[in-house]
């Protein structure tokens, strides 16, 4: 009773904040609602004993993706009126897509229950911490794939650096090494000035 009540409260928050994402006029509010939806769905994952997935959702989606969205939205000066008129243009398409998804959900919920029951037959996770079991698989059975992902990220890093780093001539820039290497003797000249003879 207590358990399912909590579940319904958080599910309600997910739905309410998702509606907030698409209805609020200010794009910054949209992103904040999106973050709220992510955190609530992370809590829903906790109900399924998937604590690793919950943490991942918060770290990756809230920590990286949503914050990036927030930066972009704040930097772009989006005109609110213009945004509204563009949204209305896609209304028919979104209604069609939404109704297709609704029909699919209803089909699996009401008519064809067997698939859902098969899927919900998850192993008992209460004895084993799933962060530990994921780590066990990732670093033994799939070590090759893990390393390959690392190499791909390395390539992405090299690519980003080589494509954006450019040395343009004639640009005045702070060279930290030169600043640190500078000695007192090079820049300060001690001059003893006699009385009444200074400039």
């Amino acid at each position: 009773m207590y358990y399912s009540m909590l579940f319904y409260i958080f599910s309600f928050f997910v739905i309410a904040s998702s509606i907030g994402v698409i209805t609020s006029k200010n794009p910054v509010y949209c992103v904040l609602y999106l973050i709220l939806a992510f955190i609530n769905s992370a809590i829903l994952f906790l109900f399924l004993n998937a604590e690793f997935l919950a943490m991942l959702l918060i770290v990756v989606y809230v920590g990286a993706v949503a914050v990036l969205f927030l930066f972009v939205v704040m930097m772009l000066n989006i005109n609110i009126e213009e945004k509204k008129s563009k949204f209305l243009k896609f209304k028919p398409l979104s209604i069609i897509l939404g109704s297709i998804i609704l029909v699919e959900f209803l089909y699996f919920l009401i008519i064809d229950n067997s698939t859902l029951e098969k899927l919900s037959n998850t192993p008992n996770l209460e004895q084993k911490n799933n962060t530990i079991s994921l780590g066990n698989i990732l670093y033994t059975d799939f070590a090759l794939l893990f390393q390959m992902c690392g190499v791909i990220l390395l390539v992405a890093m090299i690519g980003a650096i080589v494509l954006t780093l450019r040395k343009r001539p004639g640009v005045k820039k702070q060279i930290i090494k030169n600043q640190v290497d500078t000695k007192k003797e090079d820049v300060i000249e001690v001059v003893s000035v006699k009385n009444n003879e200074g400039a």
Partner: protein
């Protein structure tokens, strides 16, 4: 015809011994990391040339590692797999990377790609290709595909101040990402219906009537066709070939295509051999449309590299004919064709790179005017390469086409073989057009040869292979006929 479940004959090698199978890849990756550190601290001025030399060195060692480690087996918990066929493909890939290094050695300045990162990206991409041809699970397949493609997207955009280079990179990246999406969707469908991503498990299940698996396979095939630029998924190829600097164009035209064809052969001949009847219709369509687009599309081209792009589309069509045949003969024909194609492209690109007009690399076909008057030897070399690409005996290109069409006739695909020969005749038109321009037309501005030792070596080597291919036949025969999948 092949018997199924041959995969299981290979031994599972557990633990650290299995890592020995992946020695070339591990060696290339580790030495690239060391090379990066060396580049930062020691190669101050000659950063590009030194890393390039070390790259050549690394590739040669990796070549011998792949050649001299003859063991076959399955390693890394069934994710990785070395067979004689995969070793063969690894050797050709390493050979083509070696050619890329030699071509770019002295030409980095004029092509605007003088960054030491070019060499690192090339080495890491090689690593991905080598893993790709010996992947034994869909997850390894996909990750290796990304690992080989991601450096190429960056390399296309290396010429920073050139808008065409940026356009080519963006086009290649977007379409490559789209095709990766196709492949992933196909893999997820197959995983959903088979319940496993391991190639062994997939090949053990009878797949004939399963709608989901067939659909997934079609999606994978479409994604792979994107990557080898086979029509109707070829739209990116001409723009990308035109925009990228020439050494990188040569790289795109050879090594990634060889590696993806390698894994495609494995998928078709082994993993999905049970549903080959459904597959062969699709491949026939791919092959015929590639030959059609490649031969007709190249006729109106004025840019030399766009023409090579269309010609490579046509050649992919010819190679896919061997895939349709689904016999040992077809497999060997593809292997011959890839070797011949690699050497021919090497020769053509070495000549394009060595010629300059008004201190700029040549771009248009009309830039070749008067080549015979200025440099007879180079023009005769180009003549031989063009005749060979067109498939005129006794040059090497003829043997490639002959073997491919012969294998198709052997398996009963008469109409496909006849159409292939017809398209081959059509494609001879634009190869002859180039020959006409360089022999019978004159121009006022002279062509300058800026050939150095490496490029001259490559021209002579490919000339040797394409002219004396019939004499070298026994060597290649020994290499290829002893290869089992």
């Amino acid at each position: 015809m092949f018997t199924q479940n041959i995969i299981n004959n290979y031994l599972q090698i557990p633990g650290i011994d299995g890592m020995l199978l992946a020695m070339p890849e591990i060696f290339i990756f580790c030495s690239t990391l060391i090379l990066m550190i060396l580049d930062i601290f020691f190669f101050k001025e000659k950063s590009f040339k030194n890393t390039n030399k070390f790259g050549i060195f690394i590739i040669i060692i990796a070549f011998f590692l792949a050649l001299l480690l003859p063991s076959t087996g399955i390693a890394f918990n069934g994710l990785y797999f070395v067979s004689e066929l995969s070793t063969f493909f690894k050797l050709i890939i390493l050979l083509s990377i070696f050619f890329v290094f030699l071509l770019s050695h002295n030409k980095a300045d004029i092509e605007g790609i003088k960054f030491s990162e070019f060499n690192f990206l090339l080495l890491l991409s090689t690593c991905g290709m080598l893993i790709l041809v010996s992947s034994n699970s869909f997850l390894t397949f996909f990750l290796a595909l990304e690992l080989q493609a991601l450096p190429i997207y960056v390399m296309c955009a290396l010429k920073k101040n050139d808008i065409k280079s940026a356009e080519a990179s963006l086009k290649y990246f977007l379409l490559g990402a789209l095709s990766s999406g196709f492949i992933l969707f196909g893999i997820s469908l197959i995983y959903g219906f088979v319940g496993s991503i391991s190639f062994e498990q997939v090949s053990n299940i009878s797949l004939k009537e399963n709608m989901g698996i067939n659909f997934g396979l079609i999606l994978i095939l479409a994604g792979v066709a994107f990557k080898i630029s086979s029509a109707p998924f070829h739209m990116w190829a001409p723009d990308v070939y035109e925009g990228t600097p020439s050494p990188i164009t040569f790289f795109i035209a050879t090594a990634p295509k060889i590696s993806i064809l390698g894994i495609l052969i494995y998928l078709i001949y082994r993993v999905f051999s049970g549903i080959h009847d459904n597959l062969s219709d699709l491949i026939i369509v791919l092959s015929l449309s590639s030959m059609l687009v490649g031969s007709i599309g190249a006729i109106v081209q004025k840019n030399l590299k766009r023409l090579i792009a269309y010609s490579s589309i046509a050649h992919m069509g010819f190679i896919l004919v061997g895939m349709v045949a689904f016999s040992e003969k077809g497999l060997h024909a593809i292997m011959y064709y890839l070797i011949i194609y690699l050497f021919l492209l090497t020769g053509v690109f070495a000549i394009i790179l060595s010629l300059q007009k008004d201190d700029k690399p040549i771009e248009l076909i009309s830039d070749l005017k008067g080549l015979y008057n200025d440099h007879p030897f180079i023009s005769i070399c180009l003549l031989i390469f063009m005749f060979s690409l067109a498939g005129i005996p006794p040059l090497s290109g003829f043997f490639g086409k002959w073997l491919v069409f012969f294998s198709a006739i052997d398996s009963g695909f008469y109409i496909l073989a006849i159409l292939g020969v017809l398209f081959s005749v059509i494609s001879a038109f634009y190869y002859l057009k180039i020959i006409r321009v360089m022999f019978f037309e004159n121009s006022d501005t002279p062509l300058i040869i800026d050939g150095n030792r490496e490029i001259r070596f490559l021209i002579n080597l490919s000339l040797f292979v394409s002219v004396l291919f019939f004499a070298l036949f026994p060597i290649f025969d020994y290499m290829i006929l002893n290869t089992k999948i």
